[in-house]
Symmetry: C2
Subunit: 340 residues, 2 copies
């Protein structure tokens, strides 16, 4: 099987060729200080001539780092992978790591078998740390990794008292802002299309929705809340159901902009005018920001910053292993685009 090509030159051969000791070669390839310039040159020539490439397994074993971190998607439902939310996170994490020597490894953790394999991979020392996206409340993976001493950073938290480092947006406040905006516009029959109810992020956004209604003295009808799964399709289904239950609804708050896009389609197809007749507000801003009319309001979650912060926290975990965990909440922003 494919280990490094047998007969691939080793550090020792480079040393022999350059007429120096192994330590010196090691210093050169690691850009360590304290090597005479001429020696360094000699070694570099030998490296080039031999086409030497360091064996990373040996390097890892000899101590030090794996020089790699994993960004794991723990999603049974693979459809989500294509969602802009994830590609944006991946992009921003990649950007944050671009100028380092750390290789970013995306992994899928869908089934139990994949989970087991990934844990062995990570605990086996092939990565220095792990970033986790979209973790469900009951998922023990973060704890398994963190307890094994692996620096671990979550995107979002699993519950109110998360004991693993995470970055999250102010979901309660963002959702409240959104619904208050609708209320200020005179809407009263406000529906909510939520994410999966077993995710803490969903619970937070739903809470924000309810808090806003309560503060305005609006009765919170349970039938105005429908669960989706963050996909556009679920946004469509949920909205269709809402229209059936409440033909008189005059606004929809969607807990993700992808679902908001689905909601929009259904509302239009049903002959409702947006936003005159019915208003839609979406959480997040990738899909809607690009594709739809300028009359839509969104609560923006700073994805770029989330990715960057995850990386920053991971690097901090490397440097300060004595900190048990850290939490960062990013502020959301209401972006009003009512055509009025």
């Amino acid at each position: 099987m494919g280990k490094q090509r047998p007969g691939s030159p080793t550090l020792e051969e480079v040393a022999a060729r350059a007429g120096v000791g192994r330590g010196t070669v090691s210093r050169v390839i690691n850009n360590a200080a304290g090597v005479k310039d001429s020696t360094r040159r000699t070694v570099q020539r030998a490296i080039a001539e031999l086409g030497y490439v360091p064996n990373l397994a040996a390097r890892s074993l000899a101590g030090r780092r794996a020089d790699a971190v994993a960004l794991a998607m723990t999603e049974r439902d693979w459809r989500l992978f294509g969602e802009p939310f994830f590609s944006e996170i991946v992009r921003s994490v990649g950007d944050a790591l671009a100028d380092t020597s750390v290789q970013l490894l995306l992994t899928l953790v869908r089934t139990d078998a994949e989970r087991k394999r990934f844990v062995e991979y990570a605990r086996g020392g092939r990565v220095d740390g792990v970033l986790l996206m979209s973790v469900r409340a009951e998922d023990r993976l973060p704890d398994m990794l963190a307890e094994a001493g692996l620096p671990t950073v979550l995107l979002g938290r699993r519950s109110g008292d998360e004991r693993v480092t995470y970055v999250d947006a102010d979901n309660v406040g963002g959702a409240r802002d959104a619904v208050e905006h609708l209320l200020r516009a005179g809407r009263r029959r406000i529906a909510a299309v939520t994410g999966p109810l077993d995710m803490y992020v969903t619970q937070c956004r739903l809470r924000g929705y309810r808090e806003a209604l309560a503060a305005a003295g609006v009765d919170p009808l349970p039938t105005l809340v429908v669960e989706g799964d963050f996909t556009e399709d679920s946004g469509r289904r949920a909205t269709a159901e809402l229209l059936e239950r409440h033909p008189d609804l005059d606004a929809v708050f969607a807990a993700s902009d992808t679902m908001a896009a689905g909601a929009l389609g259904v509302l239009r197809a049903a002959g409702r005018r947006v936003p005159e007749d019915v208003a839609v507000i979406g959480f997040d801003d990738f899909t809607l920001a690009r594709h739809t009319e300028p009359s839509l309001t969104t609560v923006r979650q700073p994805l770029e910053e989330i990715g960057r912060t995850m990386v920053r926290l991971l690097l901090e975990e490397f440097e300060q292993p004595e900190v048990a965990w850290r939490h960062v909440i990013l502020r959301t922003r209401l972006v009003v685009r009512d055509s009025a």
Copy 2:
């Protein structure tokens, strides 16, 4: 930095605890035959009690495999990552590897720095092989990997005489089928929205388009061909330009279904009736198959099978390193959904 938790139990400690030699423990964790059942049990208990996890760096170093393969996206333009094409490929490759002990590692190779880092990673022996998606004609990455002795499989080829193992669809034949279908329906003014012209896949689909026109004796107007980049947005732009140049066009052949979706939107917005007034045919079948009306025809590229085949070829490379390269072309299928 985050190597395996210092003080993490080693194989030697397990051996001591179980009262056996290191060799025996090694056999047990590798499920090798030739260990008495009772001994095996004893060792497994010791492993469980200590919470032992094998150090993968040591395992790699001691010979054998990395037990991991990389699936690299060499795309400067990150937008493509979210396209269904890629998520489908990733999913199918993941499925094909699901029952193995091989960890799938997705990597982004966008910039030169990332390319360098990835080559060092792969050549450093951290993976047993590499799968590459969407490689441009001038990209030397596949050669660098293959020459280093790394089993490498491409999705698509860079040119007519690719010297690295690949899986590809019959793009010429598929495109010809598509355009012939339009010709049979009586269309004559057939436009083509292509992918980037520096990609071989684009050249093939364009050739199929031209061959079909030539066979039917239709004049191939150069102005009927516009270059896109496989995104929906480029499909929109290209189609808008085509409508301006040729208000009389009566059919559009899009070199990807994502672009076809964009084309559809623009045609509709321009007041053209599809398919009565103008016909659209898309290559590939993910987006269109799901989201649009049943009156659309597509050339289906078997994505699921492509991913599976890539994995199969990679495993064959592991087992038969004496084969220089292998090529597999998968048949496409015309799926007619004209509402007529």
